[in-house]
Amino acid sequence: MSKKLKIAIAGNPNSGKTTIFNNLTGARQHVGNYPGVTVEKIEGYSKYAGYHLTIVDLPGIYSLTAHSLDELVARNYILDEKPDVVIDIVDTSNLERNLYLSTQLMELGVKMVIALNMWDIAKNLGLEIDHERLSQLLGVPCVPTIATKKEGMDELLQKVIALHEGKIFYHPTPINYGREIEEGISKIEEILKLEEPLLKRYPSRWLAVKLLEKDEDIYEKVKKTSSGERILQTAEKSIEHLKGIFGEEPEAVIPDKRYGFISGACSTVITRSYELRHTLSDKIDRIFLNRVLGLPIFFFLMWIMFKAIFRLSEPFTQGIENLMTWIGKLVGSFFPEGSIIKSLIVDGIIGGVGSVLTFVPVIFLLFFFIAILEDSGYLARAAFLMDRIMNRIGLHGRSFIPLLLGFGCNVPAIMATRVIDDRKSRLITILVNPFMSCGARLPVYTLFVGTFFSPRQAGNILFSLYLLGILVAMGMSYLFRRLMFKGESAPFVMELPPYRLPTLKGVLIHMWERGVVYLKKAGTIIFAGCMLIWFLSHFPPMPEEGNSKIQLEKSYAGKIGKFITPVFKPLGFGEWKTSIALIAGFIAKELVVGTLGTLYGKEETSLREMLKNDVYPDGSKVWSPLSSYSFLIFILLYIPCIATIAVIYRETQSLTWPLFTAFYTTALAWITSFLFYQTGKFLLSFIDNLGF
């Protein structure tokens, strides 16, 4: 049997991590998520010098704090899974910064090899680096590599194996945090000896440093142990003591000491005469980030993207719709006409699944294009370009991407707000996200716009709804910043990746990751919602079989609908079927169309005809262009779907924000629709009176 070796690859974003991973593993890879979190985990396999290698590509990170999910995932992987060797990929042209992560990895007590990647670029910039001296100073083997040219890969693996077999003397240099902090560390290490099991999992010096840094994750873990209270007391005493000495939290002093260690090491190994050169990416950015051209190019790209999404998704959506109708007819033919079982299966189950499936194309296509933008490096540029506009509404560039994702599905969009590093900005971004009109609302728009407006107007009407959503989001964001979350937004800092040609595989992975969130929600909540609506509209069963209209009116759904209808009367759609559809829309927006379909009954004529001809008891028409647009405004703005509310709860860890969102969006929707409809009605009657 051949020997096994587990290697983890760590490093900063854009350090060439993925390229090295691909060089080392070849084609056989497995993509999944880390247990419990949706952070991508890629595993690759290979053979080298009689070893079966399993290589894991950890998320790209700058540090190992507990502040970000990626960092926590990477560090827990190393601590829990205990890979045999960690390869730390370092961008040599930016050595100080990259070594910051390396020093923290060194403290985790794993065996590691540092790959001094982009060696050629560092040389071109005029940096001469003595890598052997660096290896001695850090006590960690360092190997120069050029991932893009596959140089240094052999040397890297040789070092990994030599290290694993104990053929290299391995002794990472401990960072000296200075007398006072070191005393604190020893005190905490002393008391940590009480907790044997904890020390089996974590190196004691690392635990002590993390406690001094007030690392939340470690605090929680220590708290749970039997001597947790005592350990935390000792740590807090040390922190207080150090605060007295430094006038600052040790949390602030410790990173300074790390950097001190790094700059000491770097100044001895680097000879610089260094020159910052323009790269190809910079040349492209001269156009894409140009102060005059940048924004128009961006809006043009967005316009193309949305155009393409709706064009490309149409045949798929149509195909799925036809397929579901066909299946419904086929399955229905096995059951007697008018039976409740047939209705359950055809209208309930098949109709429910169908209403879920028809939105898959739009949502997946949107995530496909976003993934292309993201992987090519352009999405980060969009954040740069939008920063000034976002500033006006009290946010900064980083909030832009979650808002853009909202056009697909608000659920992954709200999850994406995790990249925003200050809480106030993040909350505002979450609260206004539902106004980014998601893909599930589109079918409701197309149904009504297609029915009550000419094909020539349709495009503009549709666009106006999206625009209205954006404007409301901007206005509310401005108000939230002014009224509820006062104070400046946190400074905007982020790394700009170089432009890259996206790979199909990478794009598909990213699309799948976000799309699956939608599918999961669709598979459960939406389907359950469909069944509930079916039940409410078919029970209690009426004796007059076959007369679906009477059945509906007398059903639970009809009763509920009629009860709340007066609320919608002043908005122009005081009709019980619409009221039920709106309730269904709380479960999932796409259900609005499906519910209207069920309630109007699809069989005789098309839903569009039914809508056009529907009348109130007094004989007047239910729908007009005015009332249908008022209805669409309401659909755009009112309570987001239950999955969105649930994700707001999960991301904010409080009941306040989901409830607040549910309430304020609905109130805003009612007011906006009311103002629109009443003004419209007044203007129309005014024009009529003029005698046109």
Binding site: N14, Y62, S63, D91, S93, N94, L95, E96, R97, N98, Y100, M118, I121, A122, L125, E248, E249, E251, A252, P255, Y259, S263, Y274, L276, H278, T279, S281, D282, D285, R286, L289, N290, R291, G294, A380, A383, F384, L385, D387, R388, N391, H396, G397, D421, E488, A490, P491, F492, V493, M494, E495, L496, P497, P498
Partner: protein, 74 residues
């Protein structure tokens, strides 16, 4: 010594001082921005964010941040 926000694209400079709280200084350090580092302005949307080169990396800084980084032109 001038704030980074005032440097036009193409200019190179050395960071002299970073003004602001520890949390933000640390964020900047993680991105390789600290006293003594040489940087170059690549692009800016004055008064708005700037893109600077630090080693081989490109970093975006909001206007507020760029105003708090004091640099000396080289």
């Amino acid at each position: 010594m001038v704030p980074l926000s005032l440097l036009p694209p193409g200019k190179e400079a050395v960071i002299i001082e970073i003004r602001g709280g520890m949390g933000w200084r640390r964020r900047l350090m993680e991105l390789g921005l600290m006293e003594g580092m040489k940087i170059k302005v690549i692009q800016r949307l004055f008064p708005g964010p700037v893109v600077i080169a630090v080693g081989n990396a490109r970093v975006v800084l909001g206007f507020g941040m760029a105003q708090r980084i004091m640099v000396r032109e080289v």
